[in-house]
C-alpha cells in the first residue's frame, strides 16, 4: 500500500471525506487499493466525475457519465467491476453517490 494515502481522510466505506484534497497520485493509490490498474479510459471517467463534482457538488450518475462521455455502460462495468458508480466516485475522491430512494 502506498504512503500517499496515510495522510488522506476516508469515511467508514473508504470514500474521501474532502474532495478538494484529491490529486492524481491519490486517485492512483485508491485505485490500486481497489485492485484497479488505471488506463486512459479510466481517466476519461475520472476526469468527467471530477468536472461534474466541481460544477454540481456531487458525483454524476452512470446515466450521466455514459450520456456525456464516449464510455458505454458495458465499458464502465469493465473498467470499474462490481459497482461502477460507487467505484468511480471513490477513485475520483468523491463522496458515495446518494443514489435513489
Amino acid at each position: 500500500m502506498s504512503d500517499v494515502l496515510t495522510a488522506v481522510s476516508f469515511d467508514a466505506e473508504g470514500f474521501m471525506t474532502d474532495g478538494n484534497a484529491w490529486n492524481e497520485e491519490i486517485g492512483k493509490a485508491i485505485a490500486a487499493r481497489e485492485g484497479i490498474d488505471l488506463t486512459d479510459r479510466h481517466w476519461v471517467v475520472i476526469n468527467y466525475c471530477r468536472a461534474e463534482w466541481k460544477a454540481k457538488g456531487e458525483a454524476p450518475t452512470l446515466r450521466n457519465i455514459t450520456k456525456n462521455t464516449d464510455v458505454s455502460t458495458k465499458e464502465l462495468y469493465e473498467l470499474f467491476p462490481g459497482g461502477p458508480g460507487k467505484l468511480a466516485a471513490k477513485v475520483s475522491g468523491l463522496k458515495k453517490p446518494t443514489g435513489c430512494i
Binding site: R63, K74, P81, C100, I101
Partner: protein, 424 residues
C-alpha cells in the same frame, strides 16, 4: 385575469387544482389544467389486478370527475414549455400563457431504453404492471402460468413506488401457494440495489421476508439486455437469469416534453428545490409529485404531504412574501406482503424507516416493518381514501386515522366477491 396553469392532471395535478381553486380569488385568477389523457388511473391498483384482487374497472375513472367545475380543463398533449416567456405550446399548435405554472406530469416507463425488452417476448412472456395495458396483459399471463421461473426485475433506479416490485413478488408467492402450485413456481427478485430496499434497516427486514417466502434475491443486478430468443435476462457484469415469465419494471423517466423544453435532468425530472418545491430556475414555476428530482420516494402519499407546501409557497410568492413552508421528504408506504398482510414504512429526507417507530395508536408501535392485517387494511383502504377523499379535496386524516378509514370502507370486501386467490 391572471392564469395559474397546471400541466398534468394525475394525482398531483388534481390535488393542487382543487386546493388552489379554493384558495385563489376567482375574480382575479383563472386555473387552466392541461392533460393528454381523459382517464384518471388508480396506479396503486395496478399491483392487484394480475392477482384478481381488482379488475380493470377499479383502476380507471374519468378525470373530470375529480376537477373542480370552475377550472378550464384542456385535453391535449403539451409539446413544450417556454419558461423564459411564460408560454406553453400544445401539440395541436395552440399557445397558452401563464403567470404561475405547476408541473405535475409524472413519470412513465420507457422499455425502449433497454436492449431487447421490446423484442418478441414483449406482452407475451415479458410483462410490466406500471401501465393500464400492461397490468391487463400480465393478468392473463399470471392466470395461465403453468409453472416455471418468474423473474421480477427492476431495470434502473429511481422508479415510482419503489416497493411495488417487492410486493409483486410477495403476492405471487401467496397467489401460487393458494393455487396449490407454489412447488412448481420459482420466484427470483432481481434488483440493481445492493439489497431489498434503498434504506438499510428496512432493507434487512425485507430481505428476511424474501428468504422466509422462498424468493431468491439477485442483488446488484444491473440489467443490460432482455434476450427473448433465449428467455434470458443479462446483466452488465455477465450474470444471466433465465425466466419463463419476466415481470419487469422498465426504466422510469419524466415526460419527454420536459426534456424537449430543456427543463429536465438526465431522466427528464425537473430540478426542484427540495424544501420549497419551487423550480430551481424559475421562481414562478412549482413542481410536484413524480415529475420532480427530489431525493424521496415517488408516491401518492408523498404528494399528499407536498400539497400544503406548494400551495402555501405559491401563495406567498404571489404576495411577495418569503417561502416559509418546508417539505421534509415525508413518505409513507404500505408494502403488501400477501396473505392479507402488509408492512408499513414511514420515512423522510433525514430519517430512515426504523422498526416500531411510528406512533399510530391503532396499529401499535411494533407493526412498522412487520406484517399485520391492519396494515393490509390500510393499503386497501388507500383506494377509498384516494378516490373519495384525496382527489375530491376532502382533508385526509393522514396518517393517524389511516387504518381506521381502511377498516370501515375498504374494498377488501371485494376480495370475497371476486375471483380471489382463495377461490381460484
Amino acid at each position: 385575469m391572471k392564469t395559474l396553469m397546471i400541466l398534468g392532471g394525475g394525482t398531483a395535478g388534481t390535488l393542487i387544482a382543487r386546493k388552489m381553486y379554493k384558495e385563489l380569488d376567482k375574480g382575479t385568477w383563472k386555473i387552466v389544467l392541461v392533460d393528454q389523457d381523459p382517464n384518471h388511473y388508480y396506479q396503486p391498483g395496478y399491483l392487484f389486478v394480475p392477482f384478481g384482487m381488482y379488475t380493470a374497472k377499479h383502476v380507471v375513472r374519468p378525470k373530470k370527475n375529480f376537477f373542480p367545475r370552475g377550472i378550464d380543463y384542456i385535453t391535449a398533449e403539451v409539446e413544450r414549455i417556454d419558461a423564459d416567456n411564460n408560454r406553453v405550446t400544445l401539440t395541436d399548435g395552440r399557445q397558452l400563457y401563464y403567470n404561475y405554472l405547476v408541473i405535475a406530469t409524472g413519470t412513465d416507463i420507457h422499455p425502449q431504453e433497454t436492449e431487447g425488452m421490446l423484442g418478441d417476448g414483449w406482452r407475451k412472456n415479458v410483462h410490466e404492471f406500471y401501465t393500464y395495458e400492461g397490468t391487463l396483459a400480465l393478468t392473463e399471463a399470471v392466470k395461465n402460468f403453468k409453472g416455471g421461473r418468474i423473474a421480477v426485475q427492476i431495470t434502473e433506479m429511481p422508479i415510482k413506488c419503489p416497493v411495488a416490485p417487492l410486493e409483486f413478488a410477495f403476492l405471487a408467492d401467496w397467489y401460487f401457494t393458494k393455487k396449490k402450485m407454489r412447488d412448481k413456481v420459482e420466484i427470483v427478485y432481481a434488483t440493481p440495489l445492493s439489497g431489498a430496499f434503498t434504506k438499510p434497516v428496512a432493507s434487512q427486514a425485507l430481505a428476511d421476508m424474501l428468504k422466509r417466502k422462498n424468493i431468491q434475491m439477485e442483488a446488484d443486478f444491473a440489467t443490460m439486455e432482455v434476450d427473448s430468443s433465449a428467455n434470458v435476462l443479462r446483466s452488465y457484469d455477465n450474470r444471466e437469469i433465465p425466466y419463463d415469465l419476466l415481470v419487469t419494471v422498465p426504466v422510469n423517466m419524466g415526460a419527454a416534453m420536459i426534456g424537449r423544453s430543456g427543463l429536465g435532468d438526465d431522466l427528464n425530472y425537473v430540478p426542484t428545490n427540495k424544501e420549497t418545491l419551487q423550480s430551481n430556475r424559475y421562481p414562478n414555476i412549482f413542481v410536484m409529485g413524480d415529475a420532480t428530482n427530489l431525493p424521496t420516494s415517488k408516491a401518492g402519499s408523498v404528494i399528499h404531504f407536498q400539497m400544503e407546501t406548494v400551495a402555501e409557497n405559491m401563495l406567498a410568492h404571489m404576495r411577495n412574501k418569503p417561502l416559509e413552508h418546508h417539505f421534509d421528504g415525508h413518505a409513507l408506504c404500505y408494502i403488501e406482503t400477501g396473505y392479507s398482510q402488509a408492512v408499513m414504512i414511514d420515512f423522510s429526507y433525514d430519517v430512515e424507516p426504523l422498526m416500531g417507530k411510528y406512533p399510530l395508536p391503532v396499529v401499535g408501535p411494533f407493526s412498522l416493518l412487520k406484517s399485520t392485517w391492519i396494515n393490509h387494511l390500510g393499503k386497501m383502504g388507500f383506494y377509498y381514501m384516494y378516490y373519495e377523499m384525496m382527489l375530491r379535496g376532502i382533508d385526509v386524516p393522514l396518517p393517524t386515522r389511516y387504518s381506521l378509514v381502511g377498516k370501515e370502507k375498504t374494498p377488501t370486501l371485494n376480495l370475497e366477491n371476486e375471483r380471489t386467490p382463495k377461490n381460484v
